[in-house]
Amino acid sequence: MIRPLAGMARIGLRFQLAYRSDVIMTVLALIAQVFLLRMVWTAVYGGSGQARGLTLDALLAYLSLANLQAFATTPVIPRIAHFRIRTGMVFFDLSRPTGYLSQMAAFQVGHTFGGLLMLAPAVPVVLLVGTITPTAQPLGYVATLSLGYVISVMMSLLICVIGFWTLETGAISLLYRLVSHFFAGTMVPLSFFPGALGVLAEALPFKYMGYVPAAVYVGHLSGGQVGRAVAVEVAWIAALAALLWAVWRRAHRRVVINGG
């Protein structure tokens, strides 16, 4: 049934638009971040043309894109869900004929859509700063990015559900945000991560939100690598779906509603 989900997505969109001032700050932060990264990395490269197979131009394009993606898709539902669990408002979400997780996912999709609308003015600036040119692999980019988005929404749903155990997850949310941004490679591309850190970053799913699609866009990943990335993304989605289902079933049984 599509109508309940469309309704929730509309609320997510309206919610995003209701916080316009937040978005203005986000746009400013995004532009500042992209500028700073450009300065730092230009200095790091000095005069050398390439590092780990990336030219400075490709690196700057990559970083700008990865940050644009990360900013546009920052999940909001953990914050919403925790607030509603803490205040007991989650009662109403749970009393609907539509499942809780699909409501939250729909809210997130609507919210992301609103974020894209409001980030639109920043896009030309970011493209300019990153000297981003059209990609040679549009299909691969869209595929890896869309699947990466699904992964990101599923991970945030998992964080939402953890709230039913801890009932207090501000710290966990913050930690998740830091970890996910770092391992998405929004500051440093994953191929620059040293040793064990690189292995870890490669193994974790966060890279699909930032590094992988952006690297596909600038051509750092190409051909068979793109196909393999897509396959692993699909596997992640299947695994996360199973995990979410199992965790949610247990959470559901132990739901308590705060306040009366």
């Binding site: 049934m1 109508r3 309940p4 469309a6 309704g7 929730m8 509309r10 609320i11 309206r14 919610f15 209701a18 916080y19 205040t87 007991g88 408002m89 009662f91 109403f92 749970l94 009393s95 609907r96 004929p97 539509t98 155990w165 801890t166 207090e168 997850t169 710290a171 966990i172 049984r253 739901v255 308590v256 509603i257 306040g259 009366g260």
Partner: protein, 308 residues
């Protein structure tokens, strides 16, 4: 038809640690705190009845309502709502019940009221024509027109509560659980909410379970009450019967000429004129009145007895 049998809810939750890493310790601890919120409650409510579900703070009323809606799973006992077990058949149950919690709102705080109402229409898949009709009725009965486009955070408590009532009723559920729907409202707003409840009950034979601390609500709306304390049923029956059964004696209140006030219990069989004559013979009386037992004094007495 709501049927509840030996319903019990024990809250068992990990001991909450405070201090640094408290959240983490809470996450891994094996220490549990237990609290019996509902303790063997049984009752039946036929279709179309308005029942007052009363009890002092912490009696277990809200917990019962949460189980009736299927959100909380009972520790033991049975619930059947129109033949369904609420927590097993959540979806069908969700469509059949509307809930108002006076203490919290289902409306989206930052969005205009109408957005939350539309969302309810979508979530319960109310056909467009029926939704428009329902919304019209709500607006007329509850006077929502003035603030439909106002963000909920800018509404007064009474306006918000009316919005919540509308949201709970937009899809015409045959059963309504109202947990303190008049808390904090002024006299007129209370009146509007009561009239809305009566109207809904009459129009659609809606079954209403009403929790409130305002006994005027109860007197205006319910013929039957279920009184609970510490999770157990203390009384289940008509209000009139309760007042007769538990009625404290009537009292004669006398104000003496020197300003002092005295009260005399009117024991059963006493003739009131004789009592007055007797008091008048001994004192100079400025004014007198007779206190009839009412629901409030009865409930006060029952709460006081169960405290002991």
């Amino acid at each position: 038809m709501i049927r509840v049998e030996s319903l019990t809810k024990v809250f068992r939750r990990p001991h909450a640690f405070s201090g640094p890493f408290g959240a983490l310790r809470t996450l891994v601890t094996r220490r549990y705190d237990e609290r019996v919120a509902v303790d063997g409650v049984s009752f039946e409510i036929p279709e179309g009845e308005i029942v007052g579900y009363l009890g002092p703070n912490g009696a277990g009323k809200s917990t019962t309502v949460k189980m009736l809606t299927g959100i909380l799973t009972p520790t033991s006992g049975r619930i059947e709502v129109d033949g369904r077990v609420p927590w097993r058949d959540r979806e069908a149950n969700a469509r059949a019940v509307g809930v108002v919690f006076g203490q919290r709102s289902q409306l989206w705080w930052d969005l205009p009221l109408i957005d939350s109402l539309r969302l309810v229409g979508d979530l319960y898949d109310v056909p467009a024509a029926r939704f428009t009709g329902s919304l019209r009725r709500m607006c007329d009965l509850l006077g929502l027109d003035d603030f439909l486009d106002t963000p909920v955070r800018q509404l007064s408590l009474g306006q918000r509560m009316r919005g919540d009532l509308a949201a709970a009723m937009l899809y015409d559920p045959p059963i309504l659980y109202l947990d303190e729907p008049t808390v904090g409202l002024d006299v007129l707003a209370k009146q509007a909410v009561r009239e809305f409840i009566v109207d809904t009950n009459r129009a659609g034979r809606t079954t209403v379970v009403l929790t409130t601390h305002d006994l005027a609500d109860v007197e205006a709306l319910c013929r039957r009450i279920i009184l609970i304390d510490k999770g157990r049923v203390l009384y289940d029956g008509g209000i009139d019967d309760l007042v007769t059964a538990y009625a404290p004696p009537r009292r004669l209140v006398v104000e003496l000429a020197d300003g002092e006030t005295r009260t005399f219990e009117i024991a059963g069989g006493t003739s009131v004129p004789e009592l007055i004559a007797q008091v008048a013979a001994e004192h100079a009386i400025r004014d007198l009145s007779i206190e009839e037992p009412d629901l409030e004094s009865v409930i006060k007495q029952i709460y006081a007895e169960s405290m002991r």
